[in-house]
């Protein structure tokens, strides 16, 4: 069953870029929907007017302007596009740069893969933006980027304009290589303990501080008119860390246990930066006050636990409990498949912890937008914000809800009906290509057979000699 689903999903996806690029209406009108604004309640029989990719107006008594593309959403629900604060989709050539303990010279932005089918599949789950993270192999991992899921656009058009870049940190078992064995002949990598993880981070920031000082000194002396100065070397590994200390780059730290979370808060204080989000943060409920006081967000799972030693103390109440203590909390997927049902993941916090429907919805819309510093643009349905929207056929917090359309910048990037309509056509194209290839292969085979026969009689031409022209020595 799963295979079949995946296959269908692929078929859907393959034709989508062509179809979406065909229409780029500047004025779109979504009418007669239940609009879940997240910031100011729900509007029954509401409409949303979109102009130039932005929400221009919304309310219950709007009329479609002439020439607008009208989307009739009668009986349907519109929510702000879902934002996945922890995703590894759309990455080419490896999620981890796993050899160095500090891999900050690696940048996800360099390797975005706009053709990754998971972009499209996540769109089909209502996701419009995602925080694309390096893996958790290293105490300090690679540079990260927030993207909009603009399926069909080139890599250069995926990054969320103006969103601050990030960097992945990782604490605990993964960076200390607890959960796998190295092949024979490969020496174990430092760090091998949580103490070592702390030391690696501390060392890196000490170097980054020194690096910044070198450049400051150089620039100062140069400005003072000093001649013949040799500049410091640029360091691709340390520069992102300087940006972290200057507040120009967010830290997204993979973590599980309280001890390591508190450790990173201390280290961050020492070096004068803030951790933007603790990712996973499965024991966050135990130290929610400390996390809130540190100004960090928590981006967690709904109800996964005990899948490894450091995840044993996780509870499904984590999101709700941290929320209650004033932490900005999001629920993330960390998984291309789960990203397609983040609405349900959010809803679980209504059962576990008793969050209101609106607060639950915030876990996958406004809160991750705040965590990623993009809440001025997305995360709620407000006039002036980007028209990044997901339209469901049922209440999005119900298990029956299925995404009908997903819009980014007012443009439909996923349309369930169009998808279904396209399937037969794509299947036909595929079959035709398969047949064509099969025919060509058969022709090639018979050609090769024919070639082989005469070859036994006649060999290909050869030149007179390997090393020179004719008549060597003949004159």
């Amino acid at each position: 069953m799963k295979r079949v689903n995946l296959w269908i999903a692929f078929l859907l996806a393959a034709g989508a870029p062509l179809a979406t690029s065909a229409q780029n209406p500047s004025t779109v009108f979504i009418q007669n929907a239940t609009v879940l604004t997240v910031t100011h309640g729900n509007i029954e029989h509401g409409s949303i007017l979109i102009r130039g990719g932005k929400i221009a107006a919304l309310g219950a008594d709007l009329k479609a302007p002439e020439g607008a593309t009208v989307i009739d959403a009668t009986g349907q629900f519109v929510i702000p596009g879902i934002i996945d604060c922890h995703s590894h989709i759309a990455i080419d050539g490896g999620v981890n740069e796993g050899a160095p303990a500090v891999s900050s010279m690696a940048n996800i932005k360099d390797v975005l893969n706009p053709d990754d089918i998971d972009i499209y599949r996540d769109l089909a789950g209502g996701v419009t933006s995602a925080n694309i993270l390096h893996g958790s192999a290293n105490p300090i991992g690679g540079q990260t980027v927030v993207i909009k899921l603009r399926w069909g656009k080139p890599a250069s058009e995926l990054p969320f304009e103006g969103a601050l870049p990030g960097i992945k940190f990782a604490l605990g078992e993964n960076p200390k290589h607890s959960n796998f064995t190295m092949p024979p002949g490969v020496p174990a990598r430092y760090p091998g303990t949580r103490l070592g993880v702390e030391e690696v981070i501390r060392q890196a920031f000490t170097e980054a501080r020194e690096y910044k000082k070198q450049w400051d000194d150089y620039n100062q002396r140069k400005a003072a008119g000093e001649q013949n100065l040799i500049p410091p070397r640029r360091n691709e590994q340390l520069e992102p860390l300087v940006e972290v200390m200057e507040g120009k780059r967010y830290v997204h730290a993979h973590c599980y246990r309280t001890d390591e979370i508190l450790m990173l808060i201390r280290v961050a204080n020492e070096f004068g930066f803030k951790v933007r989000t603790f990712q996973h943060v499965l024991e966050g409920y135990k130290i929610a006050d400390e996390i809130a006081a540190a100004g960090a967000g928590g981006s967690t799972f709904s109800d996964w636990w005990a899948y490894k030693m450091e995840a044993y103390d996780a509870i499904p109440y984590n999101a709700a409990l941290m929320t209650e203590r004033g932490v900005v909390v999001s629920v993330n997927s960390d998984d291309a498949q789960e990203a397609r049902q983040l609405n349900q993941e959010a809803a679980k916090s209504m059962k576990y912890g008793g969050l209101s429907a609106n607060d639950a919805l915030k876990l996958v819309t406004l809160n991750p937008a705040i965590q990623l510093g993009i809440d001025n643009r997305v995360g709620s349905i407000d006039v002036g914000k980007d028209a990044d929207l997901a339209i469901y056929d049922h209440d999005p917090l119900s298990v029956y809800a299925v995404v009908q359309r997903t819009l980014i910048d007012g443009k439909v990037y996923f349309d369930r009906q169009r998808d279904i309509a396209q399937r037969a056509e794509l299947e036909k194209e595929k079959q035709a290509l398969l047949d064509k290839e099969k025919k060509a292969n058969e022709e090639k085979k018979s050609e090769e057979k024919q070639e082989k026969k005469p070859e036994q009689k006649k060999k290909p031409p050869k030149s007179d000699s390997a090393d020179g022209a004719i008549a060597r020595g003949a004159l």
Partner: protein, 480 residues
């Protein structure tokens, strides 16, 4: 066979010696090793590529260069004259990416086999483990293909016999494997082959192997190359300051990578960047822009999808002729994606699309085993809309231009290196035979090799004789 040929040659030599005016030349020639240096191909159809086709024309070759082309050309008395009636003369073909003369190192195959696929880590990689950029993993830009040429590589001859006179040969292995050399495919010793030793600097973005030696991801590899370019730029700035003021600052550490790359970038050496699918192509176009290098893209097979970006970038493309195929060991029951099917179907259309968009491109054999595979691949490209003229250009003048040697080869123009291929028909024709090849003005005559005698054959010697005679070309007497 050899007896008969020698007889012919001796009689020719006798004629030469009898021509009074030529005695001195003949002596000189003998002094140089006895090979003729002057040729004329007359009454031939000439396809200069740089201009219109010349019917019944003559090409004159002297001392390695083309000296005259046209219909009313005076044939110098010292020239050996080849009657080109019914034959066509083309510029020698250029294979813009090979490892000719650089056979893969022994053990390389085994290493690849043990390393496993992506994400699978079965054994430690060969070589030292790199912790970061400072260990300079997979970096040996100082290696120059010219220095490692093995001219006993059998493929050199088979490429030449098929009409290829020139190739770019690239060192392999690592991220900066070394510098690639433009070679002509003939010579007595390796040095004779080399047209330009440090012609291009190929970069590979394939990560080195395993999850334990840097870099083991694409993003790490790009980060690494970026750091290397930073370091090189730093060296370019720091070195002269230090040399002028050695007492003011601590000495610079010796780093061969920085020194060699600095030299290469200062003289604007071509940097080859890999990109085969549209995403890779757009990615390296951005990187080329960021790194401010004189870039040429190699791979290019999904170029059909990004022709506009390529045209805007003005970055030329070396198109791999190893068209994508379903892997031979693919699971026959395995699901095939529409995306792969489309790519395999459309890739051969790339050259036509590039030509239409005005993107400069050349072809390279990319590891194809035999020249006949190259021509089969070209046939697919022409079948997908590429004009034979454009295909020829891509193999000659365009390739020479892209590789930075367009001022000395790639067309039949006076002054250019006498790299020519003479055929009995259209160069891409399936039945066409190569009759003569000139490399640097050295003449190679093709002849059908006789079949080896069958065990039950009674007169093997006669059969061989016949085969030779049938294919040997007439050489008209020299002089008048």
């Amino acid at each position: 066979m050899s007896d008969r040929l020698n007889r012919r040659r001796i009689s020719l030599a006798a004629i030469v010696v009898c021509c009074a005016g030529l005695v001195s030349w003949a002596c000189t020639a003998r002094g140089e090793g006895g090979e003729p240096r002057y040729f004329a191909i007359k009454n031939a159809r000439i396809v200069p590529v740089s201009g219109a086709v010349i019917e019944n024309g003559t090409v004159v070759i002297a001392k390695g260069l083309i000296t005259a082309v046209g219909t009313s050309v005076t044939i110098p008395p010292e020239a050996w004259v080849i009657d080109g009636t019914g034959l066509t003369v083309y510029p020698g073909l250029i294979d813009a990416g090979t490892n000719l003369g650089l056979p893969p190192e022994e053990g390389a195959e085994q290493a690849a086999a043990t390393s496993g696929g992506r994400g699978r880590r079965r054994a430690a990689p060969p070589g030292p483990i790199a912790a970061g950029p400072e260990d300079r993993p997979g970096t040996s830009p100082w290696r120059v293909a010219a220095d490692e040429l093995k001219i006993d590589d059998k493929r050199i001859e088979s490429w030449r016999n098929a009409g290829f006179t020139t190739a770019l040969t690239m060192p392999e292995g690592g991220i900066f494997p070394g510098q690639a050399t433009v070679i002509d495919l003939a010579g007595a010793r390796a040095g004779d082959y080399v047209v330009r030793a440090t012609a291009t600097l190929p970069i590979s973005l394939k990560p080195t192997d395993g999850w334990f030696t840097f870099p083991d991801s694409l993003m790490g590899t790009i980060g690494y190359v970026r750091q290397v370019f930073d370091d090189t730029a730093w060296y370019a700035q720091a070195e002269p300051i230090y040399e002028a003021n050695p007492t003011k600052t601590e000495r610079l550490a010796y780093d061969r990578t920085e020194m060699v790359l600095n030299c290469a970038l200062q003289r604007k050496e071509i940097v080859l960047l890999p990109g085969n699918n549209s995403i890779q192509i757009l990615r390296v176009l951005r990187l080329a822009d960021e790194w401010k290098i004189r870039a040429v893209l190699y791979g290019g097979q999904q170029g059909y999808a990004v022709t506009d970006a390529l045209a805007t970038s003005k970055i030329p493309v070396l198109v791999s002729l190893k068209w994508p195929e379903r892997p031979k060991d693919a699971d026959p029951e395995g699901e095939q994606t529409l995306r792969d099917l489309r790519f395999r179907d459309r890739a051969p259309g790339t050259p036509a699309a590039l030509a239409k968009a005005g993107v400069k491109f050349a072809f390279y054999s990319d590891g194809l085993a035999e020249p006949k595979d190259i021509f089969k691949s070209v046939k697919k490209a022409t079948g997908a809309g590429l004009s034979p003229e454009a295909a020829l250009r891509a193999f000659t003048l365009e390739a020479a231009d892209i590789l930075g040697v367009g001022d000395r080869m790639g067309s039949i123009t006076p002054g250019k290196i006498a790299n020519l291929v003479v055929t009995d028909g259209d160069i891409f024709g399936e039945k066409t035979k190569v009759k003569h090849v000139f490399v640097d003005g050295n003449w190679f005559e093709m002849h059908e090799e006789a079949a080896p005698p069958k065990p039950d054959e009674k007169k093997p010697s006669e059969e061989r004789e016949e085969g030779t005679a049938a294919a040997s070309r007439e050489i008209e007497g020299v002089g008048r």
